[in-house]
């Protein structure tokens, strides 16, 4: 009954559309005042909403989709003392790489040069029990923070 991959317009169109879970998550993100990032199953930052633009320092329309490594590096995540954090261990990395929920307070410097203290809650999204669709990252901003003195880093 089930006939493997068949060449047809349906097949050619397959996978060109994002998971409906991400589509619905984007609609949620587009309608709330809480900053939200969406990562797809391949680790691409596929969307952030307008409230998140204040954290990133640039509108999503200007930045567009980007590999997770690029945006992780551009955020320069640090702990309170100014020590760099691996993007693999902060919540977006944990939600993507380990497919589990995580929460942490970190400090980032956006493209506008402002250092901010934020809490991040990230969790994986599954379309079905075992189909990883991506991850959603929710940011809780504490406001601009001065970087610690250089000698303290």
């Amino acid at each position: 009954m089930r006939g493997g991959l068949l060449r047809s317009r349906a097949v050619e169109g397959a996978r060109q559309q994002k998971s409906v879970v991400l589509i619905l998550a984007r609609e949620l993100a587009a309608n709330v005042a809480t900053p939200i990032f969406l990562i797809d199953k391949d680790g691409t930052l596929v969307f952030y909403n307008e409230p998140a633009e204040a954290i990133v320092g640039q509108p999503f329309a200007q930045v567009g989709e980007m590999p997770v490594a690029d945006w992780g590096a551009s955020m320069q995540p640090e702990d309170e003392e100014g020590n760099r954090l691996s993007r693999r261990t902060i919540p977006p990395g944990v939600a993507f790489l380990e497919q589990r929920a995580a929460h942490q307070e970190i400090f980032i410097t956006g493209a506008d040069g402002v250092r901010r203290g934020i809490e991040i809650t990230a969790f994986p999204l599954f379309a079905k029990a075992d189909e990883f669709a991506g991850a959603i990252c929710i940011f809780w901003e504490h406001g601009a923070r001065e970087a610690p003195p250089q000698e303290a880093r």
């Binding site: 006939g3 991959l5 068949l6 317009r9 349906a10 609609e27």
Partner: protein, 288 residues
């Protein structure tokens, strides 16, 4: 491939003098492939008269593709005469669930006290299948099932045969609070099913005035469905899943509005009606 509409009403059957022309039965579309295979899209109340027809023809294998399990898409199953024929083989395809099998979910309706007959008492041979993630074959057609935005797990189906395609998305709210035209088509729920389809049968439950009171209910406004069809570049559009409160006259008015939104669409945009037949080999509507 030919398709015939046996029910195009949404939410609840709505018989009566005000719905005679477009019909009051809920969702059911018969698709006959070139090799004679019988596919049925949804088991709304329209499946009852279809069952009588299939019984008269002596059809012994039927594939029922359920978009989802809301009652208006399932209610007719217990009155589908072929299921009471021990010689009939019925394959039921539907959206997977993480918690219950398709059979158990359908059995919740087809069992007392909601229905006098249990699934186990039905004499025909029933086979339940979670719709696969990848395209599969039924008879001479390729079928694709893709999850679309509605309330609960819901599928849109695309049936392709001999270079023609029929897309069926009866319950769909492609966008909530986001302008569809602002999205890339990869962010457009249902696009994978509908793109470049020869015929799209799509939810058109609300007028633009009614929609603001129904945001998030999982259905489209006229503006949604027209925009969606344009973005998907479909060749023909049938408005479907009519609100039970809409009279024939109101559906006529919705058609006028839809054609205003899509200038030059008089030949390609129609209101779905019971008895309407579509010959996809000729891309013609007959028995309108």
């Amino acid at each position: 491939m030919r398709a015939r509409i046996w029910g195009c009403r949404g939410s609840l059957a709505a018989p009566g003098p005000e719905t005679v022309r477009y019909g009051g039965n809920t969702s059911c579309v018969e698709v006959r492939l070139d090799d004679g295979t019988a596919i049925v899209l949804d088991a709304g109340t329209g499946i009852r008269p279809l069952g009588l027809q299939l019984d008269r023809e002596g059809v012994k294998v039927v594939h029922l593709l359920l978009s989802h399990l809301h009652m208006d898409h399932l209610q007719g199953l217990g009155f589908f005469r072929p299921i009471y024929d021990a010689g009939v083989e019925l394959h039921v395809w539907g959206p997977p669930s993480t918690v219950q099998s398709l059979q158990d979910r359908i059995g919740a309706y087809l069992s007392p006290p909601l229905f006098p007959v249990s699934l186990s008492e039905i004499p025909s041979k029933l086979f339940f299948h979670d719709a696969p993630d990848e395209p599969w074959t039924i008879g001479s057609a390729t079928v694709l099932a893709v999850t679309v935005a509605h309330q609960g797990p819901t599928l849109g189906y695309r049936i392709e045969e001999a270079g023609r395609s029929l897309a069926y998305i009866p319950d769909h709210e492609p966008s909530i609070g986001v302008d569809l035209r602002s999205l890339g088509v990869d962010w457009l729920s249902g696009h994978e099913v509908a793109r470049d389809a020869d015929v799209l049968i799509h939810d058109a439950q609300y007028s633009e005035e009614e929609y603001p009171e129904h945001v998030g209910w999982g259905h489209s406004s006229i503006e949604h469905v027209v925009t969606f069809a344009q973005l998907a570049k479909v060749k023909r559009l049938l408005l479907f899943h009519h609100d039970p409160h809409h009279s024939d006259a109101e559906l006529d008015a919705l058609c006028v509005r839809a054609r205003e939104l899509w200038p030059g669409s008089e030949e390609r945009l129609h209101v779905g009606a019971e008895g309407m037949e579509i010959d996809l080999s000729k891309l013609s509507l007959i028995d309108l």
